[in-house]
């Protein structure tokens, strides 16, 4: 197989994967925050908050990520004028567009991934046996204490594995940003396929192994942590 395209200065393979890493990093932080808020709403005693969080999760989770990401660029920005980057005069317009599309993609990933984070956290809370909370209430703890001292510490341990799965899926999902022209691995692969069509197998091996390298350590490391942290019952 011919891997000569790797040393071709036209194709920045590492830079493309670095873009995936950056997309994953910012989206993961945002999704964790929004997802935790949504999960909190879903177990709260206020029916309206529960209803809102449930509706949000069921609606957003069932829309394809592709549709959400393209909506960010074409509806939020082009139609409604949502600007997440500032345009400095005299600068090449592409610089503004790159920053803008990157941030729009991150926003889209956050909105989508937070629904899965919320479900993971909720399922973590569900693994704590009801007797734990009942016993905590029986000795006179308040709701915040029941949640903070008894339920959450146990739920957090059970939540590591599903959250790691969400993180791996997010890493792979960042390829959808190619739909709005973010220069990441899938877009680079597409360019390579057009220019170096005869080496398509080598191109596939390189890009695919790149994702194996990105996702495998997350799975092994967090899988080990989750295994160690699980509450043995």
């Amino acid at each position: 197989m011919d891997f000569s395209f790797l040393s071709d200065p036209r194709y920045d393979v590492l830079g493309a994967f670095w873009m995936n890493v950056q997309l994953t990093f910012w989206s993961a932080i945002g999704a964790l925050i929004l997802g935790t808020i949504l999960a909190g709403m879903r177990v709260s005693p206020v029916p309206l908050m529960r209803g809102f969080a449930t509706t949000y999760v069921n609606v957003v989770r069932n829309i394809p990520l592709t549709v959400i990401i393209i909506m960010m660029a074409q509806v939020m920005y082009t139609q409604l004028g949502l600007k997440l980057a500032s345009r400095t005069p005299g600068e090449h317009p592409q610089i503004f567009l790159n920053a803008q599309n990157f941030r729009l993609a991150v926003l889209g990933f956050i909105l989508y991934t937070s629904t899965f984070v919320a479900e993971a956290i909720r399922s973590g809370i569900n693994t704590v046996p009801p007797g734990q909370a009942e016993a905590a209430r029986a000795i006179g703890l308040k709701f915040t204490q029941v949640l903070g001292i008894v339920v959450m510490p146990q739920a957090f341990r059970a939540v590591i594995a599903p959250l790691a799965s969400v993180l791996i899926a997010l890493t792979k999902n960042t390829t959808v940003a190619s739909a709005i022209g973010v220069a990441e691995a899938a877009l680079l692969m597409n360019t390579l396929m057009e220019n170096e069509a005869d080496k398509y197998f080598a191109v596939f091996i390189v890009i695919a192994l790149g994702f194996v390298v990105l996702t495998l350590p997350i799975g092994l490391l967090l899988g080990w942590v989750a295994h160690r942290a699980t509450v043995k019952r």
Partner: protein, 292 residues
């Protein structure tokens, strides 16, 4: 754990507090909705000219229905191929023979960790060099089958593993062969337990058909809708419409599955249910499957 075990039945003060929270939250919601409406109106998105094309018959027959049909076609073909492939790979991974187990494990682990869109772009080129014609449908189907076949293999494996050990032991004790143990005893029982996980994978497949519209040029619902939107100059209404279509399709799938599952389980004694989120924990490893 259901939420109501976490707090006591609300007394007068707690009810008052919850009421205040409700009112504040409702006010915030109303303000947000009002803000969205103002933004939409300011950008001229609420005019009849923008929304009328959604009920025009020509728009549907020219763009939306053919797109929807392509989406469903790709999803159904992928499911029909991926299910048996997943069963074969899953059984192969549980085989006693190393020469069968190892290749199956490598295939499953590899295709699960590669993004579907990468598989589609590769499949497009592969099909072109092997067959000589370009076929976006083939690229989409091959990409979806490789990924979801591998995920379903894990679902099957988790389903069989969740069965009580006594089932295998009893089957072996009455003299069944290994193949018979699997096909006559384990798989039929595992299938009911796996139903929820399989259905959530169907939802994933349906949603992932939209990836075919990005790089390999398959004209599924989203891509067809984009053409329609640029024709009628109504991006926002069109994207709202296709989002609703996807939500309705996926919710129908999920709801009918839970009805089916309840009917299946009636009269059976328990048995664990494998849901997508639990696959990782049953198999004992971290996967990235359920979010796709």
């Amino acid at each position: 754990m259901t939420t109501n075990v976490m707090y006591d039945h609300p007394g007068p003060r707690a009810r008052m507090r919850n009421l205040i929270y409700s009112i504040v939250f409702a006010a915030l919601l109303v303000a947000a909705v009002w803000w969205v409406i103002v933004i939409l109106a300011d950008n001229g998105q609420l005019t009849a000219a923008k929304w009328k094309p959604l009920i025009e018959a020509q728009n549907w027959t020219t763009y939306l229905l053919p797109g929807l049909w392509n989406t469903i076609k790709a999803a159904v073909i992928s499911v029909v191929i991926a299910l048996p492939l997943g069963a074969i790979l899953g059984v192969a991974r549980m085989s006693d023979h190393g020469w069968l187990r190892w290749p199956a494990s490598v295939i499953v682990e590899f295709f699960r960790s590669v993004p579907v869109i990468i598989l589609m772009v590769f499949a497009f080129q592969l099909w072109f060099s092997l067959v000589g014609t370009s076929s976006p449908l083939a690229a989409v189907v091959i990409g979806l089958v490789l990924y979801n076949g591998s995920v379903l293999a894990e679902v099957f494996r988790a389903g069989v593993r969740a069965l009580p050990k006594g089932q295998t032991e009893a089957a072996v004790a009455i003299g069944l062969r290994k193949t018979q143990v699997m096909t006559n005893v384990l798989l039929p029982q595992a299938l009911t337990a796996m139903l929820p996980a399989i259905v959530s994978q169907l939802v994933v497949i349906l949603k992932d058909t939209a990836l075919g519209g990005i790089l390999v040029g398959y004209v599924e619902l989203r891509r067809a809708a984009a053409t329609s939107a640029s024709n009628y100059q109504n991006l926002l209404p069109t994207y709202v419409l296709i989002s609703v279509i996807y939500i309705v399709l996926n919710l129908t799938l999920t709801t009918s599955a839970s009805v089916l599952e309840r009917r299946f389980r009636r009269g059976r004694k328990g048995g664990k249910v494998v849901d997508a989120a639990a696959v990782g924990s049953v198999v004992g490893e971290v996967t990235g499957d359920e979010t796709r």
